[in-house]
Symmetry: C3
């Protein structure tokens, strides 16, 4: 039985569950930053710390791959899944970090909407990852894939509106350049969440 | 015989042929938008509709993968090919959409040149995809790969000229920011067309 | 013995060694451009020539793949490795090219720092590639992977500082737009160097 309780395999699932939970935490921290715009430096620092915690999990997965003879899925899929989860956290961090670097004075409504979508996507990923543990649950990830696709489309729509408004609302091009970058990072975070969905779909296709 | 007339396999080739034809339509629509700059909203809407039609084909391919026991190529290659074709359409759409969102008042010559290159690349892809159907035709995709590479280089050259001119021609930075984004989307569309070439090359390498 | 002296296999290793050495040359040329800001056009032309030499090696690897029945690693890994090495050179070239296109009048300190990091990353890649030749050396690439990861983080830190300073130092948005693009290309070059590390890691995982 390929997905039985081999302890090493269990460890992979634990690490992916950790990575999913960490993604929820970093998305929560982004929502908090944008909804309660105070103590910016400390909140961005928290996001940076969570992003590093995510990095550590990614490296633990890679290290476990190095020393495992048996893996629950293809080695490459495990590696790509770990890196793609990491990418989501990276772009959330990049968005928060840009707000700090560019000394943004207050969040826009559109950035709050995008943070909410990212939080939804993170929750969906955290819900899907534990499904990898049991072969009979694998096909349930397809529902999360559809939802992550929908969220990416939603983020895309919001960021397009945001960009259009930016040029209409102000002539301050430094402001425009800064917010375009922040919106872009947030939108890419949801793109990467959709990439996670694609990897999950691939794993389910091959193993269900 | 692996590439024989198994109906399910045939369906994959039909869908890829559809995806290729759809790419030609969306590229034609982009050329029409830029060459006949009228009814912008309706023309951008047509491009949006074609992009969604492409999405639907991508999802049909994914659904067919889910339920097929036998596939003409590796499942992952089929999945990546579908997603990369989708990416080309996405960036054509992103370019057209940016022109609409940013209320562009008239196209530049460089954008017309880039649209022509995208149209050529789409035609090349539509020509290459039906070659997947017969094992003996597989190596013929290499010629299309070379051509798609050439077109990507051409698009790169045009967009670099376009960017240089942009800063020389105007001090209006809002205009510069908008056109840089449009050029970037168009250039990435040709990058993704080259990625399609790389996937096709990989499939041919493994199966010819 | 899979990694024995089969001449065709040897040729792969030679080409990868060439690609690595070419990367060092192009990084050296970038450092020279930024540290000795004279004869800009000739120096950018040299970088363009080196990027094309790298392209030629990539195509030689692809051609060798086409005609080889036996390959030292998975065909796809060889193909991805070649393309990722190419990407590093492409972004170095894109950075240098942008300086030329945008008629940059003098380099910034941050761009000099980034060039130094790129040079280090290129050196690390050139050191790691020959390790592919012997199965017993494969696990030694992990040390280079860690180092390439560290360099990517360093480049990220520098480019973030650079971007923050850009908005504080000047109100000239054309200047800001130009340098943001140059910094971005340089930072992506180190991202791609980290991607090279990831491919190398994958090859080592599968073959060590």
């Amino acid at each position: 039985m390929r997905l039985s309780f081999i302890p090493q395999e269990d460890k992979f699932f634990e690490l992916f569950t950790q990575a999913g939970n960490n993604l929820v935490k970093i998305a929560d921290a982004l929502v908090d930053l944008l909804e309660n715009w105070t103590n910016i430096e400390a909140k961005v620092q928290l996001i940076t710390d969570l992003e590093r915690a995510g990095d550590a999990v990614t490296h633990e997965i890679a290290a476990l791959l190095h020393k495992s003879f048996v893996t629950p899925f293809d080695r490459e899929d495990i590696s790509i899944l770990a890196h793609t989860l990491d990418d989501v956290a990276d772009f959330v961090h990049a968005a928060a970090d840009a707000m700090f670097i560019y000394r943004i004075t207050r969040p826009t409504e559109r950035s709050q909407e995008l943070a909410a979508v990212i939080r939804e996507a993170a929750g969906e990923i955290a819900k899907a990852l534990p499904l990898l543990r049991r072969r009979k649950d694998l096909t349930k990830v397809f529902a999360s894939c559809v939802e992550l696709n929908r969220l990416e489309n939603k983020a895309d729509r919001i960021s397009r509106q945001a960009l259009g408004e930016l040029f209409e609302d102000t002539k301050d091009t430094a402001y425009i350049i800064k917010w375009r970058e922040i919106y872009e990072h947030m939108e890419i975070a949801t793109d990467r969440a959709e990439d996670v969905a694609n990897v999950l779909e691939g794993i389910a296709l091959k193993n269900a």
